[in-house]
Symmetry: C3
Subunit: 420 residues, 3 copies
């Protein structure tokens, strides 16, 4: 009964344009494969420069069984290391955030510098060579303030292309000079791909996200043109013109806005586009006005729309004139996923004066809650032996098709010989 098909067989049997088979969302061995082939070999979005604002700040992020220390060194460099003592393997920093001079293992007091070098280890004898026992480094890249790590020895090199393309889009929002107004962690009861797929379409938005539907244009996320009546078709055309006009205006003001889409043709895959906001047109808030009086960077116009940035396999971000919302997805188990959401405002903005925290976070707190329920209901459904993958909408689920396709390609390319 339990003769599970092999991963390569499952990949080969996938029906294009259709949902993935249930095994990909439920099998613990495929979860392990996902960690090893996807999350430990690709660039994973984990946080922002303001997570470690000062020298000596440490931020810990776990990626499955791996634990990574993100440290700001005394020379202001941000570095990453494995959070594992080189003696008997203790976890070095057990809190999510800490401020340290050196990194001292609590167990036997082995002491490492912020550059990872082993500085002190008692009773180890003369043959002991400290220089071989520094902390193991982890590759880290900041893309305009967004921190990506890669646990592989040889990370994908096309992070350079993504950084080059994205920096002009992100730079006007000056993320390095923001602060974290709020950070929230939610465990969703579904596989990480379920969380990501749910992010990659707004087919579900109309019926499920009353708050998000206020700033969002209904026509912005695809529709079947054949089912529109004349009035609706006119509205859709008006929306298209609105986007064209807004792009021209923003680009003239020095803010690149046009779509770049490499969600399916890159290893370090991404997409971006600056999109108008409905109603007052300023920000993803319930009144669609800016939530923070102090605008980001040198932005003067509050109506800069929302610059969206999506990456494979695990992030999305919305940059507005007044704040940034940024989402990091970390698998926890085959059927549990951590979603970490951060709201960033200008580092000099004062809560209660420049912004109200509830107003800043209301739309995405509500949307996250609704999405967590959808992910759980979808995950529960496809455990059934009666489940079979259904077809994607050609008009509204293109980015779902992109991520599932990217995932299967990257999984196939990185399978260990024993699984392949």
């Amino acid at each position: 009964m339990t003769a599970h098909p092999s991963i390569p067989d499952l990949i080969a049997r996938r029906k294009p344009g259709h949902n993935l088979q249930a095994d990909f969302y439920t099998r613990p061995d495929i979860f392990e494969a996902d960690m090893a082939a996807i999350f430990w070999r690709h660039w994973i979005y984990v946080g922002v420069e303001p997570d470690v604002p000062e020298a000596g700040d440490v931020f810990v992020v776990d990626i499955g069984r791996a634990s990574v220390l993100i440290v700001r060194d005394d020379d202001e460099e941000i570095r990453a290391f494995h959070n594992v003592c080189r003696h008997r393997g203790s976890r070095l920093v057990n809190e999510q955030k800490a401020v340290v001079g050196n990194i001292v293992c609590r167990y036997h007091a082995w002491t490492y510098g912020l550059d990872g070098a082993l500085l002190f280890a008692d009773h180890m004898g003369e043959d002991f060579d400290k220089s071989c026992r520094g902390l193991k480094p982890v590759h880290l890249r900041s893309v305009a303030g967004l921190l990506f790590v890669c646990l592989a020895d040889d990370p994908p090199t096309d992070i350079d292309a993504m950084a080059a393309a994205m920096t002009p889009y992100l730079a006007p929002h000056d993320l390095p000079n923001t602060k974290i107004a709020k950070s929230v962690e939610v465990i969703e009861h579904g596989n990480w791909k379920m969380t990501m797929e749910n992010n990659r379409e707004c087919y579900h938005c109309g019926g499920n996200h009353p708050e998000l539907n206020v700033p969002l244009f209904a026509y912005g996320f695809g529709f079947s043109p054949k089912t529109l009546d004349e009035a609706e078709a006119a509205q859709a055309r008006r929306y298209e013109n609105l986007v064209t006009d807004a792009h021209a205006r923003w680009e003239a003001a020095g803010a690149p806005s046009r779509e770049i889409n490499h969600l399916s043709d890159r290893v370090t895959a991404f997409r971006t586009e600056r999109l108008p906001i409905d109603q007052a047109g300023e920000s993803q808030t319930l009144d669609t006005r800016v939530a923070c009086k102090k605008l980001l960077g040198r932005i003067k116009d509050p109506a800069m729309g929302g610059l969206s940035f999506w990456t494979q396999p695990n992030s999305w971000h919305h940059f507005m004139s007044d704040h940034i919302v940024t989402f990091s997805v970390i698998p926890v188990a085959a059927e549990a996923t951590l979603l970490r959401t951060r709201w960033l405002v200008h580092k000099d903005a004062v809560e209660g004066v420049d912004y109200d925290l509830d107003n800043l976070t209301r739309v995405w707190e509500a949307t996250n809650r609704q999405d967590a329920e959808l992910v759980e209901v979808a995950q529960t459904g496809l455990r059934s032996p009666a489940y079979e993958p259904g077809p994607y909408s050609p008009y509204t689920e293109g980015m779902v098709n992109d991520i599932t396709g990217w995932y299967l390609d990257r999984l196939a390319a990185n399978l260990d010989p024993v699984d392949a």
Copy 2:
């Protein structure tokens, strides 16, 4: 250390007349095999017609990872479908009971009629054929108001024989015109076979069920004749005559009562017999009197005994003149089992006037609690590497032998090639 024997090897090595080997109660892979070979290929008792009294009523029952919608259609027909959207696999109805016009998936609003047809799916394009995307049907049979489902494509056909035999026994109690006075769910911390075996003998009743021992005759469930003294032997003979007389009286009044036993020689296996009740002789209550003034169907005589009906693999039922108690067993995990108990009374009976709910449910609420403890203690014990299957009593554990034998036969017949 952990080289588990194969399922066919375990079946072959079973010692007749002895308890099953521990693996059958503890191994997750055998739990999976039980679900696929037993629970997804045989007729499973899941509920009663009064679970869906009105058109539009929906009742959800999970059988392992499978989830089944039981729906009363507008034409009063009761139908069953898999509770899985044909688009991206969401669970359609997330509550145990609901009242609906159509079945609408919360995720993307795909909409199904109560006959399972897909009525509406937005943005799917011209090539999309709704007629191929209706809900997957599940076989359903009502036996005098007791609902059985079968998830196999080709369900066992001898459900017809069971229905033909049982309908005359059950019909006088007119189950379709009852209502659910109370429904209780208990998770027992043992394998489902442990729960069933515990139900299939009263060897344990004397020392464990003070409440149930009031209406039950001690001699009704087998004994070793050699150990009786003269006084006890005389009592046993008196009990035998009592049964013979009662059967004659009840059958003359139009209520079939004699034993039918197909617990071990049928795929859709069952046993029935109407048995006298001790003391006042009316009902399974603490004072052995009817708990509900309104008798069922056209029954006039409150002293109709208790018609017991046992099915393989997962149910038992007691039909009395005034109420019905009905038990459905659903495996949850290798070592966890759901027992769902329902008490039914005449649909026109009024709580507080015609019956007192505590009085109605006291005997079986207490007995369920005691049985749950016994199941847990037995399950805990046989995890030990020192456990070896002990012998059944030839006088009191015949029905335990029946269900374990039936189980092994059905498991062997339905094993996937990979396990067999």
Copy 3:
């Protein structure tokens, strides 16, 4: 990704003088192998004679899935049996401690004597032979009051050598005439070997155990001689002389004290030594004075030091003039371990008069809490894919090397053919 190396491969690849590979601490199949090869085939320390002070006293100890009854018979003999009914496998005694006349199974009232014989079983028919259905015995040995059991049919015979060597060391403390002043159970969130390795070095004591550091001499647990300055070297020499003098004094008073070390060259492996206590020199308390006025056995001198006794795979003990602290380690799962600590005082000592319970237990309650945290942090760290076994200190981690070496040897010697 998940192609785990075989156990023999892991054993072969272990780097001497280094920590074990992570698999040994995390893999469920290796946990199962540890139970079968180590805990069910060696002598396991489970409790003390005062756990069953009177005839009819029963003490239940679970060793993984195995459950053992330790019973004091009417003839005062202590015996051990598997806690499993020979009928349908129920757990016989469900509480940790009980007082019984006979052992009666709750399920069907099968009744066993305190010698394990089946005395009564109803309804079993004439062919049933009670003499084949007695409780399965478990080997039990008391070493001066410490109870060891072995679940193997053929237990290691060198328990005799350990008993012969240790009895003179332990006898002065007269454990059989003590009582349990307190017993505490803690679940540590780590593998059992992590718990044991943590016990086998005091390299971590300085920075982690403020309470234990009061009675302990810092130089008693190894150090790197090269890193001492002149003042420290003089202190170390003074400590050495102190030990030599104390041994001579104690042995003259009839208390054997010199080290015996068979931690790595025996199947039933152990080490012992009587060591001086710092400050007032009497007991492992915060003021280093005896916690109980009534000294043990015929001891007159409160300053008898602490006789430590370590056994492989699962215990350590400290015997002082006034009390005994004894520790039993029982694996619960790959990453969970039960530590059971008992404090014993003279059986005639009266709480509140002869001893204050808080004072008696303070040092080890605090130390246990600190060790549980260290074990959890170490276990968490080595789950990382970046973990690799680090080197042991040649001066302070010798006993860690002993237990890991003993473990691998014993595992290799007892692997089932299928794993080997």
